[in-house]
């Protein structure tokens, strides 16, 4: 039990640190965003009119008061889910913008990540179970080969074959063809159609790491004394592979999976850009290229918090899966 309490404590402490850093870093940076915006508007050489500067400040809602007061305001705003107004999508709030993007990413990347992990673990375990057979060679060599292909090339190939040549699926976007976001069948089937190609590209590349990791871990555990003893005990191959192999080999992958899940919130910039998908990744790209500080800051916060939560969950899961950590931590 102490293990879980300690983990929760660590989680809260890191969360606070992350939130605070997110507050401090932009404030410690040199330069004034209002000044930067104005300079861009007017050109570098020209003098900036103080009144204009003031107006821009007002528009941005630039903070006033001392750092501590700002910090208090910031925490209060966070608690109420207020992240300010996006510069790019003015006058929409950051919350609105992110709220629109997040379901797309959550569904597309979330589903593919979970599927990738599942497929990768099963294939990797299978390869280890049948190690040094043809099945193993196919899985290992196949995934190594696919892993060497550049992702964008693979994605473009998919678009070329299935969207442009065969015209089975649309070549980009999240929805279209006359449907409007809402709880209706037309929209869902349309959104699904649009998600097939980006999803496929993620599913082709996603499992590779899990396959290779799982296979190598499991080949190693199956070579350990306890696996040999299990064979000597006359246990069935299945029982050995599952309880004495996969059960132990999966442990290191759990942490990796949690981090992968956590980074979902950040979206996958490459996929969403290639497929012009309206998710968090594309939003991040826009925020960065438009110097949309409130949006950027919030996206970073989201990613950090996502990774933290996922890590915490992984620690909890690890505590259940691996009795060894519970004790080592307690001592």
């Amino acid at each position: 039990m102490t293990y879980f309490v300690r983990r929760a404590g660590f989680f809260l402490a890191t969360l606070w640190a992350a939130v605070t850093l997110n507050f401090l870093i932009p404030r410690l940076q040199p330069g004034d965003p209002a000044q930067a915006i104005l300079s861009r508007l007017t050109g570098k050489s020209q003098a900036v009119d103080p009144a204009q500067l003031e107006a821009v400040r007002k528009m941005l809602g630039a903070p006033d008061g001392n750092l501590l007061a700002q910090y208090g305001d910031y925490l209060g705003a966070l608690a109420h889910g207020q992240f300010g107004i996006s510069y790019t999508y003015y006058p929409y709030t950051v919350t609105d913008v992110i709220g629109d993007a997040i379901p797309w990413t959550l569904v597309l990347v979330g589903v593919t990540q979970i599927l990738s992990f599942f497929i990768g673990t099963v294939l990797g375990a299978w390869a280890a179970y049948r190690r040094n057979t043809r099945a193993d060679s196919w899985i290992t060599l196949g995934s190594t080969f696919v892993g060497t292909l550049p992702f964008f090339w693979l994605a473009l190939l998919l678009i070329f074959v299935f969207a442009i040549t065969l015209r089975w699926f649309p070549d980009g976007g999240g929805y279209g063809g006359g449907s409007q976001p809402g709880w209706n069948w037309l929209f869902f089937s349309d959104a699904f159609q649009h998600s097939v190609l980006p999803g496929l590209s993620l599913l082709i590349t996603g499992p590779i790491g899990w396959i290779l990791g799982m296979r190598n871990n499991m080949v190693q555990t199956l070579g350990e004394d306890y696996a040999r003893l299990a064979r000597a005990k006359g246990l069935s191959r299945r029982r050995i592979a599952l309880t004495y192999g996969a059960r132990i080999a999966i442990l290191p992958n759990v942490t990796g999976f949690a981090i992968a899940l956590g980074s979902i919130l950040g979206g996958t910039v490459l996929v969403e850009t290639i497929f012009n998908y309206p998710g968090m990744g594309r939003l991040l790209l826009e925020a960065v290229s438009n110097k949309d500080f409130p949006l950027m800051q919030t996206l970073f916060l989201f990613t950090t918090v996502g990774v933290l939560i996922a890590n915490f969950l992984a620690d909890v899961a690890y505590g259940f899966l691996d009795p060894r950590v519970r004790r080592t931590e307690a001592a």
Binding site: D225, R228, K233, L235, R247, D322, A331
Partner: protein, 636 residues
């Protein structure tokens, strides 16, 4: 009827990228129902491979390449995995080497019993009462039933080994293979487990093949002993006969590694050289290059395993002598052994007891604090210990696992600071040194580790391993460092040095690696060497060699040595004085022979009793609870 019959069995390793190795070569023997047979040999002689072959557990690249294994009249050499499964564990079970890693770390002990029962409904019944039966088995090996709920990492090494033993007996097998079942455990724990094992074997009547490199244990436990060398059985005799007279010179060499440390003159032997490369063909006797009594014919003629005395031997000398083995028996024991190292009651011609000490440890204590939630527990690892190390003298620090020996080593080397007391090196206070000064100090105090396999970086050459301390402490680089590294190798008997400089640790034997570790400790020309059980991981046949090397270095270079061990025999051979540590307190100290000869402390007496003395009945145990040495390690 013979329960297990091994005929002409050969096992070959055929790795993809190197030459095939004949690890087991035409081995022939049988084990009767209920018989306890020992299989003795040094590491790499093929004994574990033979064991795995019998259990049909060989994995690629190893495979049976000839001969047959018959169990209870049934040929099991070529059965497939499905045909073997009902036989496994129900008829043939095993306890693996030291079992540190032979229990599944993520499931409870109970579950490991449960899956065994579940896999064998024919032997265990359809619905076995796991708790009752496993509990009973655990009690049989002196463990409580609560162990069922524990995970392996919550048990000490000795407890794990007991669980493994209980597990092996779960289905009442008729044959149990014990592969070095107690190596790596504390001597006293080892004793307890082996005693219990022998008792159970007599009671339950299963047959045993006991594989070990520890001759004393094998001799004591087994009815019959087989000696294996380079993949062949070279001798097979009833244990009693073998103690009286060994037929094969190799067995004689092995037996010579034991002596009673309480004797006035202690003499132990070693077998110099290393076993032959089995990937090549050899014409003559495989032991010939290391054999002290070989004759010309040995080089060309391969001896057969022929009856001799009440057993068998593979030696031309035995074959040719009219009276079995008489020839060997006539040779004086010291002459038929390759090398002898002896210590007598006279003080060594080394540093005298009254020379100025280089290192003085005064009233040192070390307390560890462990936090568990809000509670803080303090453990006194070392309590008010004082001693001095003098140039050219060896002080042995003896004690069981957890007695604080290693903590003292860490304090002396400056890895940790004492909580109380002072440590002085010449005029320097070691316990208060800071960074730069500490680095300079470390040059003078070097360590020799226990495990030569993990003490060297496996990806770096020997020249590199020796070059590091030369560069860090003496500022030597390039050709100069290489030159010095070569000299160091010659010093520790690895000659010609050029042959070793560019090798990787993996290409050396255990003994050679330990020599490299010693050479590395010598590199910065230290005045104090702390040797932490430097021979306990090595084969018995070469231990005395390393002891001799250490002795020579201490004498020639006037080094002060702290020799940490639980092996009283080696302490007797090497040390001028002995200090006995029990739970952090120094309970005895004095000149070696005095302490060992008139041991007062209960632990010292148990250590003495634990030293195998083949052929002599063991002394009874001092009255002590048997499990005292096996407390669950606290928070390790």
């Amino acid at each position: 009827m013979t329960l297990l019959e091994v005929e002409n069995l050969s096992v070959t390793y055929s790795p993809r990228d190197s030459a095939a190795v004949r690890a087991v070569d035409k081995v022939d023997f049988g084990i009767e129902e209920g018989e306890f047979v020992g299989l003795l040999g040094e590491s790499g002689c093929g004994k574990s491979t033979l064991g795995h072959a019998i259990l049909r557990l060989l994995e690629k690249p190893a495979a049976i390449t000839g001969g047959s294994i018959t169990f209870d009249g049934r040929d099991i050499t070529h059965l497939d995995e499905d045909e073997l499964r009902p036989l496994r564990w129900a008829d043939l079970s095993t306890v693996f080497q030291s079992s540190m890693n032979s229990l599944n770390p993520v499931i409870t002990v109970r579950e490991q019993f449960a899956d065994t029962f579940a896999a064998h409904p024919e032997a265990a019944g359809d619905r076995p009462d796991v708790d009752a039966r496993a509990g009973e088995l655990l009690e049989m090996v002196s463990l409580g039933r609560d162990v069922l709920r524990r995970y392996p990492h919550e048990l000490s090494g000795g407890m794990k080994q007991r669980v493994a033993l209980a597990l092996a007996l779960a289905l009442r097998p008729r044959f149990v293979l014990l592969d070095e079942p107690t190596t790596g455990l504390d001597v006293v724990v080892q004793r307890d487990i082996l005693d219990r094992l022998r008792e159970l074997q007599r009671k339950l009547g299963f047959a045993v093949l006991f594989i070990s490199h520890d001759l004393g244990t094998v001799m004591e436990m087994a009815d019959r002993v087989m000696v294996m060398y380079a993949g062949e059985i070279v001798e097979d005799q009833p244990a009693g006969d073998m103690i009286e007279s060994q037929l094969h010179p190799y067995s004689a060499g092995l037996l010579g590694s034991y002596a009673d440390p309480r004797d006035e003159v202690v003499q132990v032997a070693f077998v110099p050289g290393r076993p032959p490369d089995l990937s090549r063909e050899h014409a003559g006797c495989l032991f010939e290059p290391r054999c002290p009594v070989s004759v010309d014919a040995c080089r060309t003629e391969h001896p057969e395993l022929l009856p001799a005395g009440r057993g068998q031997a593979r030696c031309l000398l035995v074959e040719q002598s009219p009276d079995d083995g008489a020839l060997l028996r006539d040779v004086a024991p010291t002459d038929r052994l390759g090398g002898v190292f002896s210590a007598d009651s006279e003080p060594r011609a080394r540093g005298a007891a009254d020379t100025e000490p280089v290192m003085v440890v005064d009233g040192v204590g070390k307390t560890y604090r462990t936090k568990r939630g809000v509670r803080t527990t303090t453990t006194r690892a070392v309590d008010d210990v004082s001693f001095a190390l003098r140039p050219g003298r060896v002080s042995a620090l003896v004690g069981q696992s957890g007695s604080g020996k290693t903590t003292i080593a860490r304090l002396i080397t400056g890895v940790e600071r004492p909580s109380s007391g002072t440590i002085r090196f010449k005029d320097t206070r070691v316990d208060t040194l800071r960074r730069r000064a500490m680095r300079r100090y470390r040059r003078h105090v070097q360590l020799v580790f226990q495990d030569p396999f993990s003490a060297l970086n496996p990806t770096r050459t020997i020249a590199y391993a020796l070059g590091r301390p030369l560069r860090n402490h003496l500022g030597m680089t390039g050709e100069q460092a290489r030159q010095r590294a070569a000299e160091l190798l010659e010093t520790v008997g690895l000659s010609p040095a050029e042959q070793y400089l560019d090798k990787l640790p993996g290409q050396l034997s255990g003994g050679q690696r330990q020599r490299v570790v010693i050479a590395r400790a010598l590199a910065p020309q230290p005045e104090v060497i702390v040797a932490d059980e430097p021979i306990s991981m090595l084969d018995v046949s070469i231990r005395a060699e390393i002891v001799e090397l250490l002795d020579r270095l201490v004498r020639e270079r006037g080094i002060a040595m702290l020799y940490i061990t639980h092996d009283l025999l080696s302490a007797r051979l090497l040390a001028d004085e002995v200090m006995v540590l029990n739970q952090g307190v120094m309970v005895e100290h004095g000149p070696t022979l005095e302490v060992i000869g008139q041991a007062r402390d209960a632990y010292t007496r148990r250590l003495l009793a634990a030293i195998p003395r083949p052929g002599r009945s063991r002394e009874s145990w001092p009255d002590e609870p048997p499990n005292e040495a096996e407390r669950v390690p606290a928070g390790s």
